[in-house]
Symmetry: C2
Subunit: 197 residues, 2 copies
């Protein structure tokens, strides 16, 4: 490589980001260097700010810039509904849809015997505390429709059984979905949960 040490190091570090490989990291770094005044310097400044301020909410596990996140501090969101998600990315996806007005609880993963991830490694004890202390009336288990996600949902449902109303997201045909491209499991779920028009 003819580029010097720092540039090589930057490419190597960018290549470690999810979704980027060595080739796309090189392209991104060249783009950044070409627009260094407009893009590279502001990006570096912003990263420094985020590195200094970003933290996980001590209550729900969401990412924010204070010890307790905006959603947990907002009184408007204390409507008794608690949505349990695996990951902050899932929380952001729910927020983009704008459909949910309650609070969240981010587990930080799923139970996995293979990876030795038990309830203590996730935020499950904290979830059980919150259900008791925050006046929660409904827990929505919005975990991914994978085996690990559903195993985790069953475990949580067992733990909270009888204390609170438990719901999960509906399964069926996604909006814009074509039957021909859907798997058998989804079609079966959609057929079983069919609705009167």
């Amino acid at each position: 490589m003819s580029s010097t040490r720092d540039i090589d190091a930057l490419i190597e570090m960018m290549a470690k980001l999810p979704g980027l490989g060595p080739r796309s990291a090189r392209r991104a770094v060249l783009h950044l260097i070409r627009k260094r005044a407009l893009l590279l310097t502001p990006l570096a400044d912003l990263m420094q700010t985020v590195a200094a301020t970003a933290r996980e909410c001590l209550n729900c596990g969401n990412v924010g810039t204070s010890d307790v996140c905006d959603i947990c501090t907002s009184e408007k969101r204390a409507n008794g509904e608690l949505c349990v998600v695996e990951d902050v990315a899932d929380l952001w996806a729910m927020e983009r849809s704008g459909v949910f007005k309650g609070r969240y609880h981010v587990l930080g993963g799923t139970l996995s015997a293979l990876d030795a991830i038990g309830p203590q490694e996730l935020r499950i004890p904290r979830l059980i505390d919150r259900v008791a202390s925050e006046g929660i009336t409904e827990v929505i288990l919005a975990l991914n429709a994978t085996i690990d996600g559903q195993t985790t949902a069953h475990y949580i449902a067992d733990q909270l059984d009888g204390q609170v109303q438990l719901t999960s997201l509906a399964q069926g045909v996604p909006i814009g979905g074509e039957l021909d491209y859907l798997d058998d499991g989804t079609i079966t779920a959609a057929m079983r949960a069919r609705k009167q028009i």
Copy 2:
């Protein structure tokens, strides 16, 4: 979005990088925030360093950290061969192969009537100066095998005609290539340039 302003701004800025979209930018930023001590802070520092030091070589257009790049200053690379490439990424690709021991000239693009890019917008006048002043004996036109790349190669060949030996990269079947997946043009070029075994 429940994340705060700086995090949103960082996602937005990362999404502008080539190869990243909004979804992968969100994933990358979440990954960076989770590993902020190990990854985000060093990355921000490195970006700041590169923003302060990176510049284009005044001679050849390569990216480096000094006014004249390492290749242009190395006496070992003054072997009379000059390899003309479109872009710094192409120069890096040539350097990774390790096959070329001479110097480079980065045009910074291709001639394009549609985008109003003429010889003055590229480093073509500088190339003609260098051929005269640096004792160049062979100019290798390593431009992309696209219409714009080949038009540019023809233009440069016209300008340098008679002054220097002009060559271009061989065209043919790529190593590991399967005939069934190659286009007709490549097969035709490979057949015409066939070699005695």
